[in-house]
Amino acid sequence: MALFVLKRFAEFVPVLFMIITITFFLVRLAPGGPFDAERRVSPEVLRNLEAHYRMDQPLYRQYLEYLSGVVRFDLGPSFQKPAHTVREWILLRLPVSLELGAYALLFALLVGLGAGILAALRPNSLLDHSAMTTAMIGICIPAFVLGPLLALIFALWLDWLPVAGWATPAHKILPAITLGAGYAAYIARMTRGGMLEALSQDFVRTARAKGLREAQVVLRHGLRAGIQPVVAFLGPATAGLMTGSFVVETIFQVPGLGREFVESAFNRDYTMITGAVLVYAVLVMTLNLASDIMLGWLDPTIRTR
């Protein structure tokens, strides 16, 4: 197992190298530069700015310097917001996105698993149909509709929760629900499917025959087999939740990395884009690895393979 994990980690290095290289050159190929503005800067100012950010050097040299910086965890200064370095920005913003993603995941798991199990216990009942219809709606409504809708109901009409911001626990509820809703719906449908299949298996019949309580049968035996598709989905889902929060961050004014990432792309903030891509790549790869390890733990057949 340890060898497997180590091997996977070793694979990270060439992949990250490729990602940095591609991003580094791709962003510089895009039309428009970081210093293009509505008020055009004079050639003298532009020259000085480029010198400050070492853009007057040949491209290969900039690339080598950037790479050597990355090794030292120095991602350079932000072009657009020079008050902070890219590393500072990421250290400030990433925890917020991770926190938001974690709450959303928690919400998605609680609601998704709960609804999925309930629906699977009574297939084709009213409960099942209403849970699955709600899930379908959850999948279909995009965050930019759900977010403002929730804000309207719970913040402006009912005045229960704040409309935007990230200061207190109350601020975190609506963004987490908005971000997690779609995933909750997926998980509900997956859990239902997985559970229905598991509950019709022989080992469940055996468990029942042993005289176990229904709760034990469902939660210990049925669920463990039934949530395997959910666990496989969890890696990409977690990555998606933690990296895909741009819309939610914008709607609720959450100071996360997602917004920073998208803005930096619009602003041609070269160092910020590359830095954010790097962090996201590490995040996605780590989460996928975690999900693989967990699958092995749940299913002995995968482990032996």
Partner: protein, 536 residues
Amino acid sequence: MHFFRKTMWRICSVVLCVGSVIACSSGRQIPDNVLQVGNGAEVQELDPHVVSGVSEHRILSALFEGLTDYAPETLEPVPAVAKSWDLSPDQLTYTFHLREDAEWSNGDPVTAHDFAYGWHRILSPAMGSEYAYLLYCLQNARAYHEGDITDFDKVGVRVLDDHTLEVVLEHPTPYFLTMHNHYAWFPVHQATIEAHGAMDTRGTRWTRPGNLVGNGPFVLTAWRPNEVISVRRNPHYWDAEAVRLEGIDFHPIDNHQTEERSFRSGLLHITSTIPLHRVDVYRQERPEVLNLQPYYGTYFYRLNVTRPPFDDQRVRKAFALAVNRQELADHVLTGDEQAATHFVPPGVGYEPIHRVTFDVEKARALLAEAGYPDGDGLPRVEILYNTSEAHRTIAEAIQHMWREYLNVDARLFNQDWKVYLSSMNNLDYHVARSGWIGDIADPINFLECFQTGLGNNRTGWSSPEFDALIEAAYNERDADKRLQYMQQAEALLLDGGPIIPIYFYTWIFLKAPELHGLTPNILGYIRWKDLYLEGE
């Protein structure tokens, strides 16, 4: 099943308990007497010599103060750090007398040296400051900034003593005193800057809370990027007694809808703008919070004169005449925008002598004269705009007008902001949406853009006559004559020149009834020390 019912009950009660605890602890209370401001995009920096935006200006004018300020009501210069000033008869030398009681937020006195140091800093080539050009009215400032001279002593700034500053100008500059509330002119605290790096280094830590030393009515206490920037009363400010707010929290909210919802839920006292589709709702339901003010900016189309068909002056004229601006203002624009028949916005004592009217007959005749009767044979025309709903709507309306009045099928073309800027800079367009907002309250700020070969020209247009008029305006001592030169220059720009003016901007924002002391003005300037919260 009994088990599940029980479990569900347990889960529900836990959720309810946690929910009520969170709801009770929800930090909705706004600190007493602290103004909550929606401030648009997150600031780039809080260094007055690095930044270039409007949201930065808002915050920096709370943290710093220049030699003079202007009264929001009259836009006339009033004393700030300088208590008085003299102007030499040749209008080239100002002598500023600084007040003795002006202090930095750490208690150090604000002296003439601090201003000279600040101006030296922004003009240093290595700073790469975008707004350094505002100081080009100082003698030799341009030469120093462009590296032609390296001795700052040659630049027209002389410290006569701690409280007397002499400024020598390159040419008479009637608007000189009104420029000093722009951050480019703010003084900086030398010891603070140099404790964190060299004078001309960008992005050092001197602007962090705790480090930043300012001389304005407020002092920086918190900066959480993308969350909030807080400033609180500066007890060392010379006019601290006049400051009525305890502090200001600037919230960087770049999404207009989010900002409007925050205002509605009482989290903001004033917004930076308002979503356009909400203007009518506010007009009908809460007119008392809606503010629509003329703003010193023009929305216009640029024409690329290096490409057919706009290399022909008659075609440019025809296209400009075939825009029904009034109809656009009445039916397409929602915020009381004024139709623009000229380029320099009205409102600072300037009247144009030439206007672009709406005249279909004349437009058709001109187009025919240029060899395109009824639009026949006209090369393809594209309207370029940066991706935005509002720009698209306006472009569609104009596309419709040109089709109807000139029988020309213009195509719409949108690009992401930076790509659009790059297309404009490379003259890779036919017609491009543009805007210009005055940095200073003087027509010259609009007109000088279109001098030959300047970076902001972006049309390829060149007129020696126009250049000569701008140069004459620069050097003219007589105010009336100067105005006439500018009027003539604007007439040239409008009569088949490279632009089609469309409308004058408005400053649209929401303001809570309990906020008092704000005098809306054409420059969108808010003097924070005048504001106070009372009632509700």
